[in-house]
């Protein structure tokens, strides 16, 4: 068992790691979230889907205290967000943003080690244990072979893995990922989601923002469909990803293949006939 899963596994499988209730969030004078509730349990991958501007990233920010709540409550691993300090929070929930920044000159290993920061005092140095945890985080994220490479030399998929390794080094039971597969080719997309599934199998609770509905339906246990700051559908992938939902929320006609023996629904756009479009 890895060090990371050892921590996560101490929580029973049904533990609710994240419980957010009735969140109202205003950003820059605009109401972005209205009464959003979400729960994530240990060992579960919850997908957050919805059009651009639906409030997905804001929800992630609100869950870590970066966007202040107008009302509602967030509990992370049983502790209210309002009363937990930053360092404690950083040991409970790790986030990989959409476009995380880091100097191109630092190595993957150095980035992973920064994930140990919540455990280190002002003058502390990383111990051998911190190095070992960072190493295992890189192995789990599939970037151990890149440990000595600098970020500037990585491909998009490798870079994503490096930041996931940094998040795993935080040894948190809860992981929030904001579009981890954006701008990746199909192989890299699948690899990232298979990695996410393995983390969940180790007991980590994952909340992930996904744009690709088929990917979301394939890899997530539950989905939450956000539109204009409200949850419009929630449940198992086949309940949420339906032609009717997609058309209503995205305003686009799609075919949803939901009955072909696939475990998860597949979303296919209904294109205008190409020869007609040309005319």
């Amino acid at each position: 068992m890895t060090l990371v899963s050892a921590v996560a596994a101490t929580a029973p499988a049904s533990t609710t790691l994240l419980r957010a209730r009735d969140l109202d969030v205003t950003v820059g004078g605009t109401d972005v979230l209205h009464g959003v509730s979400v729960e994530v349990h240990a060992g579960e991958v919850v997908g957050l889907i919805g059009p651009n501007g639906a409030g997905k990233s804001t929800l992630l920010r609100a869950l870590t205290g970066l966007a202040p709540l107008n009302s509602g409550s967030v509990e992370v691993a049983g502790q209210a967000l309002r009363t937990s300090d930053r360092r404690t929070l950083a040991r409970t929930v790790a986030v990989v943003q959409q476009m995380p920044e880091a100097p191109p000159s630092i190595t993957v290993a150095e980035l992973a080690l920064l994930g140990r920061s919540p455990y280190l005092g002002l003058l502390a140095r990383e111990s051998a244990r911190d190095h070992a945890i960072a190493m295992q985080a890189m192995e789990r994220a599939g970037c151990a072979a890149l440990a000595a490479r600098t970020l500037g030399t990585l491909s998009g998929g490798q870079r994503r893995r490096a930041f996931i390794a940094r998040a795993l080094a935080q040894e948190t039971p809860l992981l929030l990922l904001d579009e981890p597969t954006a701008n990746l080719d199909v192989q890299a997309q699948c690899e990232i989601f298979e990695l996410v599934r393995r983390l969940a199998a180790d007991g980590v609770g994952v909340l992930v923002v996904v744009h690709d509905l088929t990917l979301a339906a394939t890899y997530c246990d539950r989905l939450l469909l956000l539109d204009a700051g409200r949850v419009v559908a929630e449940g198992a992938p086949h309940e949420v990803v339906t032609a009717e939902h997609v058309q209503r929320v995205y305003g686009t006609r799609v075919t949803v293949i939901n009955d072909s023996g696939h475990r998860a629904p597949i979303v296919v756009p209904v294109a205008v006939d190409k020869s007609e479009a040309r005319r």
Binding site: P103, A109, H131
Partner: protein, 355 residues
Amino acid sequence: MSARTAQLVGRLGRRSGGLVPAAGAVVALLALVALAGAMVGTTSIPAGVVLASAWNALPFAGARIDVPEGWERIVIDVRLPRVLTAGLVGAALATSGTAYQGVFRNALADPFLLGVASGAALGAALGIVLPIEGALPFGWVPLLAFAGAVIAVTLAYLAAKVGDSVSNASLILSGVAVSAMAGAATSFILLTAGERALTIFGFLFGSFNTANWPRAIGGLPYLAAGVAVLLLHARVLNVLQLDEEQATQLGIDVPRTRIIVLAAASLVAATAVAMAGVIGFVGLIVPHITRLIFGGDYRRLLPLAALLGAAFLIAADVLARVALRPQEVPVGIITAIVGGPFFLSLMRARRGGLR
């Protein structure tokens, strides 16, 4: 742990360890440069005499070593305070610049970004033209320069503050605005200063030719306090290399850290400017040189930049004394003329360039 893992962990430690040998090499360089700094000048003094004079000056020294009295006086009263001042100022500017670049995550940041230099220049100019006399051991100029620097940075900070938050962009902009205003006032004083304009120019270019013991010792407590705060935040500066959101999610109170680090770095830079005038370039390039040679970990970067900055400025001051002997060249001109090409060649030699 598998052999491969062990090997990778070893690799992982490569860039984060080894402060001692690196520091040893830089300290040796610093010692050599400091010795040269005490030997060179209008009168050349042999190394043995320098060392003997320094030995004789130690309070606990036993038997005196016999050296020519004139040389000993030059070493003790002129050369050593000068070398010490150059070293302190170099270390201060380099440390401060390293911290500024870290906080702003910007390779172009330097200690004068928020108005330290222009505020100090205005303070010094006022000190030079106003008819004030006092019983201070080193005159009013350093004191007013220090006050000007602190006031300028404080103004820039307050102007950029909206509610409880201060963004990097507005901080830089208000720093530019405050600098422009202070610069305009200094220019006006220069135009109306008559023959005293030369003294003001001397301050604007920076020089160590008025260095003395009281001034060097007087700056020491401020430098020590500021540098101590910066060293205390070295690990946090590593985390601040990431964006603000990531740093926050890693448990860092980013706004608070930024204020503390900027206040300490500005205090250090203000002290440096009060001690020797405005010396450009050191605070910009020494951090980069240190980063290129020793990597980006601030726990190594800050102390090594201090040592390299000290060596660099002492060496620049030696050149300033010998380049056009017997006339002295302002040291700020030397730092740019010599440091610039050196820096560019180092930058090009490293494929990765600057971060």
